[in-house]
């Protein structure tokens, strides 16, 4: 009987511990995230889709903005996963690189702008709450995560663009370039 009771209290203890974690996560970070997300969603509505598309189109024109400003605008305004639709502004040969660049930004942005990817906050929050618990400030960490993220998505865009160019003739056969797909139109 005693063993049973011990077993039961051990069993329930697991969930009590989980409950404590749950409450600390809900109470600690969620309130700020809720208010911040509300404000940012409102801002996005007020700016409007047309302007955002125009900015995306403009940023697609040169190699530097293509893997920095363009994915940032896409992720901030369209959020994960609709951000990847901005690929439509680019010729085929840049699409893999743009996707790589944009998707790599879907976590660095969440430190400051959780609205961009609310389903995957704990890549950042998991570590950040740990730091907060031992009394360290996390503002600097969030900003550095964002800035390093921008550097990384730029490098990733460039590298993936080169690798795409290298792989194209090796996978699709000699002499084939993705450029030729741009003119074909229609076929998908």
């Amino acid at each position: 009987m005693n063993a049973l009771a011990n077993g039961a209290s051990y069993f329930i203890g697991i969930f009590q511990e989980g409950g404590k974690v749950f409450v600390s996560l809900i109470g600690g970070i969620l309130p700020t995230v809720i208010v911040l997300m509300t404000a940012v969603y409102a801002l996005i509505t007020l700016i409007g889709e047309e302007k955002v598309e125009l900015w995306g189109r403009k940023a697609s024109k040169n190699v530097i903005t293509r893997y920095t400003i363009m994915p940032i605008i896409a992720m901030f305004f369209l959020t994960n996963p609709m951000a990847y639709t901005f690929g439509k502004f680019l010729p085929e040969k840049y699409k893999p690189a743009f996707y790589d660049s944009a998707v790599s930004f879907c976590h660095p942005i969440t430190g400051l702008f959780p609205h961009a990817n609310p389903g995957e906050l704990f890549v950042y929050l998991g570590i950040a709450t740990g730091l907060e618990k031992i009394g360290l400030p996390i503002g600097g960490l969030a900003i550095r995560y964002l800035l390093v993220g921008i550097v990384v998505i730029f490098i990733r865009g460039i590298v993936t663009e080169k690798i795409t160019a290298f792989l194209t003739p090796r996978i699709l056969g000699d002499g084939v370039l993705l450029d030729s797909l741009d003119e074909e139109g229609g076929e998908k």
């Binding site: 404000a39 996963p81 639709t85 085929e92 893999p96 944009a102 590298v159 993936t160 795409t164």
Partner: protein
């Protein structure tokens, strides 16, 4: 007669101004209210369910003492730059990365574990920034064909794009961890 007309145009201007002001305020209030609705919806459908999941996992780990075993495995990897690079190479490995990608669940669970190990003092705080990039080399690797299709890519582009992104990660993943390591200087040390 004249003064009367003047007065009415003045009144018209004022009411236009007030009307415009009112519409502006209405638009902002509506946008905020919609924002709130969208946020709460997102909380209930995505964020809180994930918190419940992660709370159970962490609770189980803390209570059963499995945390110590995990700490023994993870702490040496996550407490120095060499270990983080190895971790990054593992999760970014082209065959593994698409499997580890979905929903970023793996990255989120490892992230939360790293957080608990930081609390326990097993991992130094200055490793936090490079750790973000080490646990996340595989980000989006499961989603390449869908992500490319969202960007209206042709099937041939997808055929090349998938291996291009996967191979690129083994290179850029390591670069990212190293950049983050140097960028973390002066943050917590």
């Amino acid at each position: 007669m004249m003064t009367n007309k003047k007065g009415s145009t003045g009144l018209k201007k004022m009411s236009d101004l007030l009307g415009g002001f009112g519409r502006g305020i209405g638009k902002v209030v509506n946008a905020l209210y919609d924002g709130g609705r969208k946020t709460i919806d997102m909380m209930i459908r995505n964020i809180i369910p994930f918190i419940a999941f992660i709370a159970f996992v962490i609770g189980l780990i803390l209570y059963t003492g499995a945390g110590e075993a995990i700490a023994k495995g993870l702490a040496p990897l996550a407490s120095n730059i060499g270990g983080l690079i190895i971790l990054g190479l593992i999760v970014g490995f082209p065959v593994l990365s698409p499997v580890l990608g979905p929903g970023a669940v793996v990255a989120q669970v490892i992230g939360t574990l790293v957080g608990t190990l930081i609390i326990a003092g097993e991992i130094p705080p200055q490793m936090a920034l490079p750790a973000f990039f080490a646990i996340d080399v595989q980000v989006g690797c499961d989603f390449i064909p869908v992500g490319l299709s969202l960007g209206e890519a042709k099937p041939k582009t997808v055929q090349v794009g998938v291996p291009a992104v996967l191979f690129s990660r083994e290179i850029t993943g390591v670069i990212a961890i190293i950049i983050a390591y140097f960028a973390s200087f002066g943050l917590y040390s």
